[in-house]
């Protein structure tokens, strides 16, 4: 019975793809990028965005995020291999990729059209409040963001509660 269930899940995920975005599965990436901010999944931006970002770590959103050479290489490679356009079987990666025009190289996940569209109805006060602060603080509301799951069911906005679209 259990085997059957697993096969059904596997089969349907092959047919319909995965729902969220591939969770981060690189320890170095988690440590180096996740110490200052939420470790955004590589599948949230296309390769050209990651490359542009990694080329300017001295000025990473106005902070110094430089890395040792060997760590830089490992992380650059991880981001390239797992970027959004290479993870199109994941729903969020697909939607993010498809909403970015070919001539755009966004550096902020929060400025990608699909992301903007998904968040534009949230009142500013819920974003600027103490427990959240900024839209890039995924875990503040998406309780399962670290597992790559951004579904509505897992949203819990501080001082507001669940969010219904």
């Amino acid at each position: 019975m259990k085997k059957l269930l697993i096969s059904v899940v596997l089969f349907s995920s092959l047919l319909f793809g995965q729902s969220g975005v591939k969770p981060v599965d690189n320890k170095l990436y988690l440590k180096e990028c996740g110490s200052c901010h939420f470790a955004f999944q590589a599948g949230l931006l296309p390769e050209r965005s990651w490359v542009k970002m990694m080329n300017n770590l001295e000025n990473h959103f106005d902070t110094d995020a430089t890395l040792a050479k060997e760590d830089y290489d490992t992380i650059m490679n991880y981001l390239k291999v797992n970027s959004s356009e290479k993870a199109m079987n994941y729903k969020r990666s697909r939607k993010m990729t498809n909403s970015i025009r070919g001539n755009q190289t966004p550096l902020k996940i929060t400025e990608v059209a699909y992301f903007v569209d998904k968040h534009n109805e949230i009142p500013l006060r819920l974003i600027t409040q103490k427990g959240v602060g900024t839209l890039s603080n995924c875990m503040a509301c998406h309780t399962t963001a670290d597992r790559g799951i951004y579904s509505e069911r897992a949203i819990q906005i501080p001082n507001y509660g669940r969010w219904d679209d």
């Binding site: 902070t63 110094d64 430089t66 040792a68 959240v132 602060g133 900024t134």
Partner: protein, 139 residues
């Protein structure tokens, strides 16, 4: 009487070790001392007190905003800090509270390089790095 003396000795020795750097970190500190001597021939040793000043005073940082080390790491280094720009929590800096701190030269060099830029908008001198490491290590 002898037992008491031994017990006192043991406590004394453990206390010394508690505030000492591990061998690779001590080597790094020694290198900083050599560098500090080159910067200033009158250099004697690093200072916890000077480190405290570096850690607690505010400056216009890389983001053109007034900031100090304590903006993210708090005044009390045994407490959990919070990145003031991203709201990400930061484990305590105090090696007494968080024994992983100040154990890896690679990590220490990385954070000194980044955070001097972030808070002071320039690289730290060997003297300053040593001072601030002495300060953190005393917590």
């Amino acid at each position: 009487m002898r037992k008491i003396a031994i017990a006192i000795m043991l406590v004394f020795i453990t206390n010394i070790f508690a505030s000492q750097f591990n061998p690779i970190m001590q080597e790094y500190i020694n290198n900083l001392k050599t560098e500090a001597k080159k910067e200033n021939s009158g250099f004697v040793d690093f200072s916890i007190k000077e480190g405290e000043k570096i850690f607690t005073t505010s400056h216009i940082g890389k983001k053109s905003e007034k900031i100090s080390c304590t903006s993210c790491h708090n005044i009390d280094l045994t407490t959990t800090g919070k990145n003031t720009f991203t709201n990400k929590l930061i484990e305590p800096l105090s090696p007494n509270k968080n024994p992983n701190r100040l154990t890896s030269v690679k990590d220490v060099e990385k954070w000194l390089r980044r955070n001097f830029k972030d808070v002071y908008n320039r690289a730290g001198t060997a003297q300053e790095k040593g001072d601030v490491l002495y300060y953190i290590n005393s917590k």
